[in-house]
C-alpha cells in the first residue's frame, strides 16, 4: 500500500527520530512510504486559537499537497484529528475535497490497527513496563481508546494502568502558554499519579514536550518515548 | 403587574419569537422509552439502595397496633406522632398526636410510587410538615399503586394535580462537609415504606 507520510511540525523538529521510526515501521508492515515535499503545518494552532481564516489557508495548502495520496499517515493524533475531523468543518466550499481526504487520513496507531488490521508486532518490548498517555483528540475525536495499548501489548510490553490515563495533560497548544499555571498543574496531576514504569509512551508530540518539560522542571526522572519509536523497538 | 413588567414580558416574548423564527422550529422527539421493571421488586431495590427502608408489617395483626409497637421499638422510641389527614383510622398508630415540629415520626399514605427511580409520590394535601419535619417518615404504600415508570405516574397524576407534590426517594442527605455523607440534614433522616 502506498502511504503519504505527513510528518507534522513538532515531529519534524523535536521527534525526528521517532518520525523516522514511524517510516521504518510502515515499511516493515509492507507500505511504500512517500514524503510529499510541499507539506508544512496542518493549521491546528490557528484553528484552536479561533484564527479561522489562517487555519483555512493552511488547510487548503495541505489539501493541495496531499491531493494525490491514497493514504495519509501522521505520527500525531492531534494533527491527524485536524485533518480528519476539523478540515471538513472548516472547508466551506472545499468541503467535499476535505471529506475525501478525511477518509484517507489516519493517525499512526489507528492506521496500523484499523486499516492494516495488525495488532502483533513482535516481542521487542517484553519485560518493559509502560504507561500510555493518550492525546485528547486521539481519544475523544478519533476514539482511539484501545489502539495504542493494544499495539504496545502486541509488541510484548506490559501496559500499566494509570489513574489519570484518560485525563488531559494540559498541553492544549496555545493553552499551555496562555494559561500556563493551570496547564502545568494539569501536568502535575498526570505526573503525580504515574505508576512505576520504564517509559511513558504517547503518540502526541505536543503532550510529550509539555509533560517532559514539566517533569524536568520538577526534577523527576521519567523517560518519555514517542509511540512510533516504542513500536519500532517492539518489532526488533 | 407594573407597566415595566408588562413591557418586559412583551419584549422578552418578541425576542424569543424572533430567535425561534430565524432558526426554524425543531420538532419534539416523542417519548423516551425506558424499560419497565417489575414494579414492586424494582422499587424496593432502587429505594433501599438510596438509603430508604422497606419494612414488612406483621399482617397477622391490625396494622395500627403493629405500627404502634414498631414506632415504640425504634431507637429512640417514638412518643408523639404527626399523621397526615389522608391516613385512615386503621393505619394511624395509637400514639399521641403532636405538632409535626415535635413529633418523633410523621405518618403518610403515598398517592403512589415509582419503580425505576425508587420514588414515593406525596401530594401536598397530605400536609407537608408531616412529610418533612419529623426525623422519621413512615409511608404506607398501596402495592397496586407502584408504577413501573415515572412517566406513567406523572401522566396519571395530571388528573387533579394538587398545589404541590413531593417525590421522596430516600432519607435527607448531604455530602457538603468533607465529602462525607450525612443523613437527616433537613428532612427526615429515615424514610420507611410499608406496603399495604
Amino acid at each position: 500500500m502506498k502511504v503519504a507520510f505527513f510528518v507534522t511540525c513538532l515531529a519534524d523538529h523535536y521527534f525526528a527520530d521517532a518520525a523516522a521510526d514511524a517510516v521504518r515501521l510502515l515499511r516493515h508492515l509492507g507500505c511504500e512510504v512517500g514524503f510529499p515535499p510541499g507539506q508544512t503545518c496542518c493549521g491546528q494552532p490557528a484553528y484552536n486559537a479561533g484564527r479561522t481564516r489562517e487555519a483555512l489557508r493552511m488547510a487548503e495548502h495541505t489539501l493541495d499537497v496531499l491531493a494525490g495520496a491514497d493514504a495519509v499517515v501522521l505520527p500525531s493524533g492531534s494533527c491527524a484529528t485536524m485533518v480528519k475531523k476539523f478540515y471538513p468543518r472548516l472547508a466551506g466550499e472545499g468541503v467535499s475535497r476535505a471529506t475525501a481526504l478525511s477518509e484517507r487520513t489516519w493517525d499512526l496507531a489507528e492506521f496500523i490497527v484499523r486499516r492494516l488490521g495488525v495488532t502483533r508486532l513482535g516481542d521487542g518490548l517484553s519485560g518493559r513496563r509502560v504507561a500510555v498517555h493518550q492525546g485528547c483528540h486521539a481519544l475523544r475525536e478519533l476514539r482511539l481508546e484501545t489502539e495504542p495499548a493494544t499495539l504496545l501489548e502486541g509488541a510484548g510490553a506490559e501496559v500499566v494502568p494509570w489513574d489519570a490515563q484518560e485525563e488531559c495533560c494540559g498541553f492544549g497548544g496555545l493553552f499551555s502558554v496562555k494559561m500556563t499555571a493551570v496547564s502545568a498543574a494539569m501536568a502535575d496531576r498526570k505526573l503525580e499519579t504515574l505508576p512505576d514504569v520504564d517509559w511513558v509512551v504517547s503518540g502526541d508530540g505536543g503532550c510529550v514536550l509539555h509533560l517532559d518539560g514539566r517533569s524536568r522542571a520538577r526534577g523527576d526522572a521519567i523517560e518519555f518515548v514517542h509511540l512510533a519509536t516504542a513500536l519500532w523497538r517492539g518489532v526488533n | 403587574m407594573s407597566a415595566g413588567g408588562e413591557s418586559s414580558r412583551e419584549r422578552i416574548l418578541a425576542r424569543v419569537a424572533r430567535a425561534a423564527a430565524s432558526r426554524g422550529r425543531l420538532s419534539h422527539p416523542g417519548a423516551l422509552a425506558t424499560p419497565a421493571a417489575d414494579p414492586v421488586a424494582g422499587f424496593v431495590k432502587c429505594f433501599t439502595s438510596s438509603g430508604g427502608e422497606v419494612v414488612k408489617a406483621d399482617r397477622g395483626r391490625p396494622a395500627n397496633e403493629w405500627l404502634t409497637d414498631f414506632l415504640q421499638a425504634l431507637e429512640p422510641g417514638v412518643v408523639g406522632v404527626a399523621v397526615g389527614p389522608e391516613v385512615p383510622a386503621g393505619l394511624r398508630p395509637r400514639l399521641p398526636d403532636v405538632a409535626a415540629a415535635h413529633a418523633g415520626a410523621g405518618i403518610s399514605v403515598a398517592w403512589g410510587a415509582v419503580s425505576e427511580s425508587g420514588s414515593l409520590i406525596l401530594p401536598s394535601t397530605g400536609t407537608r410538615a408531616v412529610q418533612l419535619l419529623p426525623p422519621v417518615h413512615v409511608v404506607w404504600v398501596p402495592e397496586g399503586r407502584v408504577f413501573a415508570r415515572m412517566e406513567d405516574a406523572l401522566r396519571e397524576l395530571l388528573d387533579g394535580l394538587p398545589a404541590a407534590v413531593g417525590l421522596h426517594s430516600g432519607p435527607s442527605k448531604s455530602a457538603d462537609i468533607g465529602r462525607t455523607v450525612v443523613t437527616g440534614v433537613h428532612g427526615p433522616g429515615r424514610c420507611m415504606v410499608v406496603f399495604i
Binding site: 511540525c9 523538529h13 523535536y14 525526528a16 523516522a20 517510516v23 521504518r24 508544512t40 493549521g43 490557528a46 484552536n48 479561533g50 484564527r51 481564516r53 487555519a55 493552511m58 485528547c136 485525563e167 494540559g170 492544549g172 496555545l174 502558554v177 496562555k178 499555571a181 493551570v182 494539569m186 496531576r189 509539555h210 522542571a217 | 413588567g5 418586559s8 422578552i12 416574548l13 425576542r15 425561534a20 425543531l26 417519548a31 423516551l32 422509552a33 425505576e116 427511580s117 394535601t125 407537608r128 418533612l132 415515572m150 412517566e151 406523572l154 398545589a163 404541590a164 413531593g166 417525590l167 421522596h168 442527605k173 448531604s174 457538603d176 468533607g178 465529602r179 462525607t180 450525612v182 433537613h186
Partner: protein
C-alpha cells in the same frame, strides 16, 4: 470578583493548594458516580432524546412561556417578567416589602447568584439565610459558590470545623455528622421563622405550570412549604413542554449530577396551597428572568448552551476546572459551561479570556446530558474574540505569520532551519510565547537533525 483568569488561577494554585486537592478529589468522585449512573441506563439514547426535547422547547419558547404563564395563573400563582438582573431584584424586593417580609430562607439557586439577589435583600433590611448546607457554609464565609452542585466542595473538613467551632460553638474536631446537626438546628428555626422562601427552578413545565426542584437535603422542600410566600426565580430557558418530558429530565439530570436515579427530594409546585390539609404557602410567585438569555438564544451557535440543566457534570469532568475550582473564572457560571455561557450572557468582552480557559480536551462534551458541543462553542467564541481584536496582538501576529510561512513551503523550510540553528533558547527570545512556556517547564530539546534532513539522507 477578580476577572483575570490567568493571574487568578496562578494565585489559587500557588497560594491555596488545598483548593486543588479538595476540588480534584470531589469532582473525580462525582465524575465516577456520573459514569456509573450513565452505565446503568441507555445513556446515549437518553442524552439524544434530552437534546431533542430541549431544542424543540428552545425553538418554541415563546409558545411554552405563554402556556406556562397561563397555567400558573390558572393555578393561582403570579407570574412576573424580568428583562435583566435589576428588574428581577426589584420584583423580589417589591414582593417582600408588600408582604412585610423580615426574613427569607433560600434554596440553592444559581440564578439568584447571577442576579446578585442576596445583597439587595440585605440592603432592603431583610435577613437572608442560605439553607443548603454547602451554601450556608459559604454564606458564613462570605464567599460565592465554587461549583453548581457542591458550592463548597473547595473547602476541606478542617476549614468547616474551624468555621463552625467559631460560629456555632461546635467541638474543634467535630465530625461531619455533628457539624451538620449543628447547622440543622440553626436552619430549622430559620425555616419556621421565615416569611418568604426563595428558590430557583430546575424545570418549569408549560403544560401544568409546574416548578420542579431537585435536591438531596430537603431544604428546598422546606423552603417551598413552610414560609407563607414562595418566590421561584426561573431563567426563561428552564421550560419543558410536558410532565412526561419532566419524567425523563428528572432522572437524567440526577444521573448526570451525582449518578443517582433521582434526587432524594423533588418538589413539583403548581401554585399556592388551596385544598384542605395543605399547609403550603399562601402565595406562589414565579419570576421569569431573561438577563441576557434572549441574546444567547439569538446567537448563531451559542444558543445550544441554553440546553444546560446545571447538573455540573462538565465541571466534574473538566481537568482545567479541577486545578482551581470555580472562583478563578470570576463569574457565577464557571467551568466549561460557564466559559460558553458567560460570553453570551455578559457579552464577550466582559467574559474574556474564558473561551481560552480550556485545553479543548472534550471530556465535558462526553459528560453533558444534553450534548452541548462545548469545545465547538469555545472555538466559536475564540473566533469572535479574534475577529473583534480581543486577543493580544502578538498572538494574532504570530498566527498570521505562521499561516504566511506555512503556505509557502520554501519559506517554511527556511524558517525551520533558522529555528533549529537558534536552538530553543534563541527561539525563546524570538517567540514571546516560549517565555511563558518556560515559566513552569524546561524548554524542549530539538532533534539534532530534522526529519526532513533524515529523509533526504535516506531512512533505513
Amino acid at each position: 470578583m477578580v476577572r483575570d483568569y490567568a493571574a487568578r488561577s496562578r494565585e489559587i494554585i500557588r497560594d491555596e493548594p488545598g483548593v486543588r486537592e479538595a476540588v480534584t478529589g470531589a469532582t473525580i468522585a462525582f465524575d465516577e458516580k456520573r459514569r456509573k449512573g450513565y452505565a446503568e441506563v441507555d445513556a446515549d439514547a437518553w442524552r439524544r432524546w434530552a437534546e431533542g426535547v430541549k431544542n424543540h422547547t428552545l425553538t418554541h419558547l415563546d409558545h411554552y412561556l405563554t402556556e406556562a404563564e397561563a397555567r400558573l395563573q390558572a393555578n393561582g400563582a403570579q407570574v412576573h417578567w424580568a428583562a435583566d438582573a435589576a428588574e428581577a431584584r426589584e420584583i423580589v424586593i417589591g414582593l417582600a416589602t408588600r408582604r412585610a417580609v423580615a426574613s427569607v430562607v433560600k434554596g440553592k439557586s444559581m440564578v439568584t447568584e447571577e442576579i446578585d439577589l442576596n445583597p439587595a435583600l440585605e440592603e432592603a433590611g431583610i435577613e437572608v439565610i442560605e439553607t443548603d448546607l454547602g451554601e450556608y457554609v459559604l454564606q458564613l464565609l462570605e464567599e460565592p459558590p465554587s461549583h453548581i452542585l457542591g458550592p463548597a466542595l473547595h473547602k476541606s473538613l478542617r476549614q468547616v470545623q474551624d468555621l463552625f467551632a467559631e460560629r456555632l460553638n461546635t467541638a474543634p474536631d467535630g465530625d461531619p455528622d455533628t457539624l451538620a446537626r449543628a447547622a440543622r438546628e440553626v436552619l430549622r428555626n430559620a425555616f419556621i421563622d421565615a416569611d418568604m422562601g426563595i428558590t430557583g427552578a430546575n424545570f418549569l413545565v408549560a403544560e401544568t405550570g409546574t416548578v420542579a426542584l431537585i435536591e438531596n437535603e430537603g431544604n428546598i422542600r422546606l423552603t417551598t412549604s413552610l414560609p407563607r410566600v414562595h418566590v421561584a426565580v426561573v431563567g426563561i430557558e428552564k421550560l419543558l413542554p410536558r410532565m412526561t418530558d419532566l419524567a425523563g429530565f428528572l432522572q437524567l439530570t440526577a444521573r448526570a449530577a451525582t449518578g443517582q436515579p433521582i434526587g432524594c427530594f423533588v418538589s413539583l409546585i403548581q401554585g399556592p396551597a388551596a385544598e384542605p390539609g395543605d399547609d403550603g404557602p399562601e402565595e406562589v410567585h414565579v419570576v421569569l428572568v431573561d438577563n441576557g438569555r434572549t441574546d444567547v438564544l439569538a446567537h448563531e451557535h451559542a444558543w445550544e448552551a441554553l440546553r444546560c440543566v446545571r447538573c455540573g457534570a462538565c465541571l466534574n469532568a473538566c481537568p482545567v476546572y479541577r486545578q482551581t475550582g470555580g472562583h478563578a473564572y470570576g463569574h457565577v457560571y464557571s467551568g466549561p459551561i460557564g466559559s460558553v455561557l458567560d460570553p453570551g450572557l455578559l457579552g464577550l468582552h466582559d467574559a474574556m479570556p474564558l473561551p481560552f480557559a480550556s485545553s479543548l480536551c472534550g471530556a465535558c462534551e462526553d459528560a453533558c446530558p444534553v450534548r452541548i458541543p462545548i469545545p465547538e462553542l469555545l472555538l466559536e467564541w475564540r473566533k469572535e474574540a479574534q475577529d473583534e481584536g480581543l486577543t493580544p496582538w502578538k498572538e494574532r501576529a504570530a498566527l498570521a505569520g505562521l499561516a504566511s510561512v506555512a503556505t509557502r513551503p520554501g519559506l517554511y523550510r527556511l524558517a525551520g532551519r533558522i529555528g533549529s540553528r537558534l536552538g530553543a533558547r534563541g527561539a525563546g527570545r524570538a517567540l514571546p510565547m516560549l517565555g511563558e512556556w518556560a515559566r513552569d517547564r524546561a524548554l524542549p530539546k530539538p532533534s539534532p537533525r530534522t526529519f526532513r534532513q533524515l529523509w533526504r539522507k535516506g531512512i533505513e
